[in-house]
């Protein structure tokens, strides 16, 4: 079963024509799909179209579930006064947008996810005091509060040490195996993406230049379309 289906997607920024050209692919339930490609190739634009953050595209995007999202890190967060618990709990906001306060079940969902990701015991700690890897773990927990089924991550290992990046990939792989989580992620880190992904999609100049098994993807060489 496919959780996301993208058909003949085209999008142009006002200043850049043909940012995305005729993109079609699907994301299967319980899989890890990695979108790779150079800077400016249109990877982040593609996931923003899927998330509904960008309007005005042509083509069709169908989603079978709610989506949890982990955007690229913003500069504000590094010194932001917030506890791990406050950050994770904010992920439940899409469940009860109209409610003034967090409901009991919001807190239960957040607690359950924090326990699974082994951050429950440090939930009162300040987010800004955590290491880069721990911060990403917290932000993954937040996106899981929005959806336990499907999360989209934009460069989750950016700026992390290779050993920490491996831990993030392992965490996502574990969540896929144990919880049946579906992951769609944008990554620069092609080497690790090939190791952990079930499917790789390469975007070049706004078009898909490769879609398929990681084992068949040729690094830096000829690509199969």
């Amino acid at each position: 079963m496919n959780l996301i289906e993208v058909r003949k997607l085209n999008y142009s920024y006002p200043t850049k024509k043909n940012t995305l050209k005729n993109i079609s692919f699907e994301v299967e339930e319980g899989s890890i799909t990695c979108i790779v490609g150079e800077n400016g190739s249109g990877k982040s634009t593609l996931i923003k179209c899927i998330l509904g953050l960008i309007k005005g595209y042509t083509g069709e995007i169908s989603k079978d579930t709610t989506i949890g999202y982990l955007p690229q890190k913003s500069a504000i967060q590094s010194s932001f006064p917030a506890t791990i618990e406050e950050v994770v709990l904010s992920g439940t906001i899409s469940r009860n947008v109209r409610s003034i306060f967090y409901k009991k079940d919001d807190k239960e969902v957040a607690n359950e996810i924090m326990k699974k990701l082994r951050i429950y015991d440090i939930r009162k700690k300040s987010f800004s005091d955590l290491s880069g890897g721990q911060q990403q773990r917290v932000l993954i927990a937040r996106s899981l509060c929005a959806s336990k089924k499907l999360i989209i991550l934009d460069e989750p290992t950016n700026g992390l040490d290779p050993s920490i990046a491996i831990q993030i990939y392992k965490l996502l792989s574990d969540l896929r195996k144990k919880e049946g989580l579906t992951v769609l992620m944008v990554s620069h880190d092609i080497e690790r993406a090939l190791k952990y992904a079930d499917k790789v999609i390469e975007i070049k100049n706004g078009q898909i230049s490769y879609e398929g098994q990681p084992s068949e993807y040729k690094l830096g060489g000829e690509k199969n379309v």
């Binding site: 509904g52 953050l53 982990l70 955007p71 913003s74 504000i76 006064p81 904010s90 906001i93 003034i100």
Partner: protein, 273 residues
């Protein structure tokens, strides 16, 4: 000290100032946390200049309660500031400088050709607790209560939008709407607070309490609560010292805020060591 406080409270104008001051300080501090974190600290300064321009023009044309004109005027400018700041052609700090200096220039020019730089204008610039009429107090109390209620209602959404706008948008929040809400509420507090604090000093009660609280507290909730407390304490200590030593109230409140900032910075150092 107790007898001085009793003597202070026997004056009606001080009773009014304390009522308005507590509410305005509290609301300014609550909004200040989001503004400082979103790097919009200078919006308070810009809007106070706009408020000055509108108040002086209103006074010059003989409006009995300039607040009636200033509240909608500054609110419109707050939205305009965000719109210009979001455009790619002019950055947000430039748009604040552009609008605030223009409004200040209009205010000074109108004053020059009408009443001249009299005591009233000095009160606008540096604040005066004597300047508040009964109707000013009424408007200030109503506006402050509305601001406080809206802040509580939208607290968790304001947190989500301030911490991560992209995530908030993807979660279905209209983040631009909440950013506009912060700007509009700030505009309201600036207008009702500038009579007492003065155009030149009002932005400090938005920025100082948040920055002070962030020295020591590390959760959003505790920073918000501490900011409110720091702001109200600074106001009460400030107005007491201003009364005893006959100094400008606005300036004294800012200096008390500075003292608390230094104190909290020392506490932060001690905690880290």
């Amino acid at each position: 000290m107790f007898s001085t406080v009793v003597e202070m409270m026997s004056h009606v104008f001080i009773q009014r100032a304390i009522l308005v001051g507590i509410l305005v300080s509290l609301c300014a501090a609550l909004l200040g946390v989001s503004l400082v974190l979103k790097r919009y600290s200078m919006i308070g300064d810009g809007l106070s200049h706009v408020g000055f321009g509108i108040m002086t023009v209103s006074s010059a044309i003989g409006v009995a309660t300039p607040l009636y004109i200033a509240i909608p005027g500054v609110t419109v400018c707050a939205i305009l500031l965000l719109k210009i700041g979001n455009s790619k052609k002019i950055k947000s700090d430039s748009s604040i400088a552009l609008i605030s200096s223009t409004a200040l220039a209009i205010g000074v020019a109108v004053t020059s050709v009408t009443t001249g730089m009299n005591t009233d204008i000095c009160n606008f610039m540096f604040g005066s607790i004597l300047a508040m009429s009964k109707s000013d107090v009424m408007i200030s109390v109503i506006v402050s209560i509305i601001v406080a209620i809206l802040f509580i209602i939208y607290y968790r959404k304001l947190f989500a939008v301030t911490f991560d706008e992209e995530f908030a948008k993807a979660s279905g929040l209209k983040s631009n709407r909440y950013t506009s809400l912060i700007a509009v509420l700030t505009a309201l507090i600036i207008v009702v607070g500038m009579r007492m604090m003065g155009v030149m000093l009002i932005s400090s009660i938005i920025i100082f309490p948040a920055l002070t609280s962030m020295r020591v507290f590390k959760s959003f909730k505790s920073v918000v609560i501490s900011s409110g407390a720091v702001s109200v304490i600074s106001f009460l200590v400030g107005i007491y010292l201003a009364y005893i030593y006959n100094i400008s109230t606005g300036a004294t409140i800012v200096l008390v805020n500075l003292m608390l900032f230094i104190l909290f910075s020392i506490i932060e150092k001690i905690i880290h060591e």
